[in-house]
Symmetry: D2
């Protein structure tokens, strides 16, 4: 249960925009819904939805939203505002166009839901053009500094866990070893949580060195304890696209016969979990409250069970660390 700060409204905005950007994550829709409704219920006159992320800001693909236009989206995966990559947003002249589009419609502030690239864009827009921005962490990877949780992470973990539960049926029936690659970009948050949740025999993440020799010992130990030759190794996609296949080759050289499963894009979508809907609803409401309390250039996230604000500058500069203790639990519990 999230603790929510008490903030006093100090500012008034006539019109606010919302934008989802970067890879979609499940929970963006309940976030959009709560921003729209919280804003309209707090006296904001108009809420605009920017379509296709920063691309829509540049191409002026912007529509008016109402309380009704976000009816029945709380349970939907993806983002009704659509998302897109917009590499040209790194060009200042392109950002000028975006700022003009906002101003021509009277949009005075912007809430951006996305990952670190999206939040960087928000920060620069704020710095350059003085547009008040609030960021929300929307990514399945949970790799945003300053927040313990991100919108979409819990759903992605549940999806991966259910998929691996299925794979385990086959692994146990055939007494086979499976290498299952999960998403997570350069971080091992998904892999660690999924590995613990699935009782994986090993978890491989970019953050911590992985000892192949150790894996072989673990597998041999399990075998001698009668825990069978079936097993699941969860591998974070990481920076090295060939890691999973190379690992499989190494295991084959050791006499194992591992199968590979790349979970891929099934982890992104799907109806958001209860947790992600709750998180998104609370963060969306809080985003509006922070905005009306005069905050800007911040991300609204979760830390130690409470909703907090974090300067976007810090979000951009820091790197989120995967707790070693947590990672070690995965190793401890398969024994």
């Amino acid at each position: 249960m999230l603790s929510i700060p008490d903030l006093k409204p100090e500012k008034h905005y006539n019109a606010v925009g919302i934008l989802t950007s970067g890879g979609d994550s499940s929970g963006m829709n309940p976030a959009i819904r709560s921003i729209v409704r919280a804003a309209l219920n707090s006296g904001v006159k108009q809420v605009f939805g920017v379509r296709r992320g920063y691309q829509g800001l540049v191409s002026d693909d912007i529509t008016l939203m109402s309380s009704r236009s976000v009816t029945n989206i709380v349970q939907k995966g993806g983002t009704v505002l659509k998302s897109a990559r917009c590499p040209e947003f790194s060009d200042p002249s392109v950002r000028d166009v975006a700022a003009r589009n906002l101003s021509s419609r009277g949009i005075e502030a912007l809430v951006v839901i996305g990952g670190d690239g999206s939040l960087t864009g928000a920060h620069i827009l704020c710095q350059e053009h003085g547009i008040p921005v609030i960021g929300l962490p929307g990514t399945i990877d949970n790799d945003i500094p300053g927040t313990d949780d991100t919108i979409g992470f819990d759903t992605a973990v549940n999806t991966a866990v259910e998929a691996i539960d299925r794979i385990r049926d086959t692994a146990r029936s055939h007494e086979r070893l499976f290498l299952v690659e999960v998403m997570g970009r350069n971080s091992g948050f998904i892999a660690t949580q999924v590995g613990i949740a699935c009782g994986a025999e090993m978890v491989v993440v970019p953050e911590y060195a992985f000892d192949f020799h150790d894996l072989c010992i673990t597998l041999a130990e399990r075998h001698s304890k009668g825990q069978g030759s079936s097993g699941i190794i969860v591998v974070a996609e990481g920076r090295d696209p060939d890691l999973t296949h190379r690992l499989a080759a190494q295991l084959k050289a050791q006499g194992q016969d591992p199968k590979i499963s790349i979970l891929g894009h099934i982890q992104r979508g799907g109806s958001p979990s209860g947790h992600d809907r709750m998180l998104a609803s609370c963060l969306g409401t809080a985003a509006v409250e922070y905005l009306l309390a005069g905050y800007s250039d911040i991300m609204v996230g979760v830390h130690k069970g409470a909703i907090v604000d974090v300067p976007l500058q810090r979000v951009i500069e820091e790197k989120k660390v995967l707790d070693r203790k947590l990672f070690d639990i995965a190793a401890l519990l398969h024994k």
Copy 2:
């Protein structure tokens, strides 16, 4: 992501017992698994499973467990140790039998997973017989003081959310109002989280007064805004078993034609969510660490994103409060 304390082992136990008691909750099995494995990996020589809660303690229904005996249970609902009510445990002479059974097998400490009744039993056993006990919060209701989260809550919320998503299909197709009763004993934690997650039109909980007139206005407003006459009202079961039906009767008297759905026992079981498996695995590991660090008569729970210890005395005496701010968000977002 949970933060886990660093504890130094100070004590040695030859044999430890585990017991699940009270209503089963999803995640008890990964908790059992992590306690067994963490204990055996930390030098505890024997781990015993007590079957059927305190009843098994009294009837000496106790079996030796091994790392292998908890293989492939991480994904299973319910509790492999089974559970039962044991009203006779309130009799001191019955507790004497329990203590003798533990001592006759050389069981030196006990980890109890359950709700407040179960934790009360553990506290008394510790006080009376000097048996070191560690409690873990295992209940779908999330109503245990001293911990922000309980094993089984997240899964129960997800199950209720999925069920209500289905009901909403019918509610929208027929433009009907549904009263959906969720579990939660005397508290509204499940109802509030589910209500927010499902975009319910109203949430009724035991903690906060409910204004029937207000509900009528809300329904009328929605109607006039064109949000349709379909809707979901989430009702916590609470102390009054007739509340949901009485509410339906009141709404009928106002010209509405509400349908009732009592979600009931489907909320308890089912494969635990990724979150609950993670929580249970971390709490189980921590329970062993606290025990070996010399702690006793405590519950190991979660507070502000960290694993913490709480005196069982406090757990028994206090009442957990449902955050008003959170509850208000449910009301805010349906508008």
Copy 3:
């Protein structure tokens, strides 16, 4: 895999209407989608959606549909055309209004998706006003004569099966007996399929006499075989709304302590199963083909693995029989 008849188009229709009526069932949306697209792809110029069943026909709540207007509905529960009861449709003068509304928009034929009441309405409209109609069996109850399967049955069974799997976790953990009431109106098709699929200890259906004494023997036998005192009894709702509670009372009088779970409305909605989407897509396509081949006053259903046409007259007059052999398998397999 369904076998689909080869039909030659013999007729041309400029405009066709679609209507969903009665209790919603999961798969109505893919049926709507396939009717719209099959019609437009077969030369029908306009497809109209009638909203709220026969009520919309009477109140002229009719909208033009396009291929695009049924995009992304294949996975949605309920019916985008909405449904309603319309008791006044039994009045001939009301049906005259309906017929005039169709004719004033140039709608020359109607496809009706629904249960027996809905198909009766279609038949009378056809008989009285000469409007060509094709019916599709859309009900979770699978109680429509002339077809082995109905749109929504498979999804409802899966939902009930998943719910009972959850309940079984609790039943086994607490060694309790559960009475689970499933839908099915006056028939036991859902109960029988669910009972077999869940390994229920007993299935109670309206079609076959139920021997309470036999149940007591079964429970005693299971107990003596060491199969435990937990168990699931699946009860079809049937005509007697008190049956489940009365059964529970009888069991209590025998010293059992059964719990009751009424699955209720969660069985209706939810994303349609693969089977129901396939069935709905094929039936919808076939409905258009039968219409264009000159058929009318028929239901398009499934018999012996093939898509068939059945006179609506027969659908209305007959009663579908629950195969005794199938019912007996449920009893056989719990032993």
Copy 4:
């Protein structure tokens, strides 16, 4: 609802063996359960489970089963008897060992659940050693001649459909084209059913020529109709392991930017659907009835909604054909 033949018991067997072989499929467990219970309830004295398919027959890895040993497996994916490939079974001297192992335990007949390779093994064993065998079609691929359905097909379709529903969220949010590869060995049954159920823009199967030019036109048409540039192309794995990647390359050359998702092993496991549990329960029961009626060297399958027997010889020699009409519906409905 399956129609089940009436067969009179003509033979008596003291002991019967069960074996699952080849790739596991969801529903093998309810099949095992129903064979064990139907046999014991029909007067067979002993039922033996052969572990690890034909490998266990050769290595004498055979255990006695009881009604209780199949309790609570009806809902489990995979096979509790485990499965394995056994290439050495093609050696007659190895089959001699298998036959001796059966005879030394007094096992007089064998029920084999698996795909075509497994059923071929059963046929040869019967021919060579006169051992009565009954085969059941257990494979997710639904590619067994003589039966319209196989144990595991429906569950695999549902799993793939749910996965693609998730992918569609991302496809629509990002307006991207996805190539999703599903299982099915050399046949397109899974791909076709999944393609129709998901409203795929195109289905590529080994049975029917695929016109790349046609796909480009379809995508262009959809674009011009405003149905967006997002889309799902379902590709059966087929004989050509590079097909999906080659298709992606061709689409890239045309200016598209498709993403690839290989669903892989998640399609095999998971709790069986209601349909597969029902099918497996009925086929398992029928297998025992056919055996006791004196049948041998047959597969018990489903044809035109009825349970039927098919000579194993025919199963081995024929090739199951994917209905062209059904395949065409997939193409028809995306328009």
